[in-house]
């Protein structure tokens, strides 16, 4: 994923270069390759306008909606706990503790803004955990990483 800022009135050219040689199958014959490209342009002013949260909006903010602690009492009869909600990233509340990180090899050469939310998990038995996130706006704006 790559993000660029485009300036009003300028003209740009995007060059997509294909580096590589033919892929060979088991018989040594070359196979073709295809790819998908999601191409998104949005006016900054429009984006700011569209992601404003109305005061009457009843969608909870991320930091308010996430549980602070999960214990055995929160598990259902199958021994599972599920958090599945639509939440918003509300400015400024959800951005108060955003950490800015410099570009490093670990971040694959990009600077990032990271908002951490800690959830304490106190369970008697071993457990598996998984998480995913879907976005209303451009899929490339945010991502989610679980860390123990």
């Amino acid at each position: 994923m790559t993000e660029y800022r485009l300036t009003k009135g300028r003209h740009y050219a995007l060059t997509v270069m294909y580096i590589g040689g033919p892929k060979l199958n088991d018989e040594g014959h070359s196979k073709c390759s295809v790819f998908d490209l999601t191409f998104s342009i949005v006016h900054e002013s429009q984006l700011v306008e569209e992601v404003k949260c109305a005061a009457s909006d009843d969608v909870p903010s991320l930091s308010a909606a996430l549980p602070k602690k999960i214990t055995d009492r929160d598990l259902d009869s199958h021994g599972e706990y599920t958090f599945d909600k639509v939440v918003k990233l509300a400015y400024p509340h959800d951005f108060q503790h955003v950490e800015k990180t410099a570009a490093t090899p670990r971040t694959r050469g990009s600077a990032r803004d990271i908002a951490r939310e800690n959830i304490e998990i106190q369970l008697e038995k071993n457990f598996d955990i998984s998480a995913s996130i879907e976005h209303e706006y451009d899929q490339a704006l945010f991502t989610l990483e679980l860390a123990e």
């Binding site: 800022r5 073709c32 990009s110």
Partner: protein, 123 residues
């Protein structure tokens, strides 16, 4: 662009040998800043709400007969904006050996000066 690619030979050769790409998309030569900037032929453009979003599927990965980083096959998309904007590109492809897609954005009004991405990462 190489002479072969410019002639359309690469594309035709690729599609002939690549049934997946036969029904796939081709990257557009230009994305216009607005509908009024188009030539009226249904060209791709940023809509009245300031959005353009399109997923181009099964685009042919144009491969040379020989591996080359110096003069690889390429596609070129020109674009213009009439307001400050954000451009997001997300490539999805199967990685193997040394194959790679590199995207370079240049400002054609600044003598082709390369634009540095704000963010870029691979998954």
């Amino acid at each position: 662009m190489s002479a072969a690619a410019n002639s359309g030979e690469i594309l035709q050769r690729g599609i002939a040998a690549c049934p997946e790409a036969a029904n796939g998309d081709i990257l557009p030569p230009q994305i216009f800043a607005s509908k009024s900037a188009t030539k009226g032929g249904g060209e791709l453009h940023i809509d009245a709400n300031g959005h353009f979003m399109r997923r181009f599927r099964d685009v042919l990965f144009k491969m040379s007969r020989e591996y080359s980083e110096v003069s690889p096959e390429s596609d070129r998309v020109e674009l213009a904006v009439d307001q400050d904007s954000l451009l997001h590109l997300t490539f999805l492809y199967e990685a193997y050996e040394a194959n790679e897609i590199r995207a370079v954005l240049t400002d054609t009004w600044m003598l082709g000066q390369q634009v540095t991405p704000q963010t870029s990462f691979k998954v």
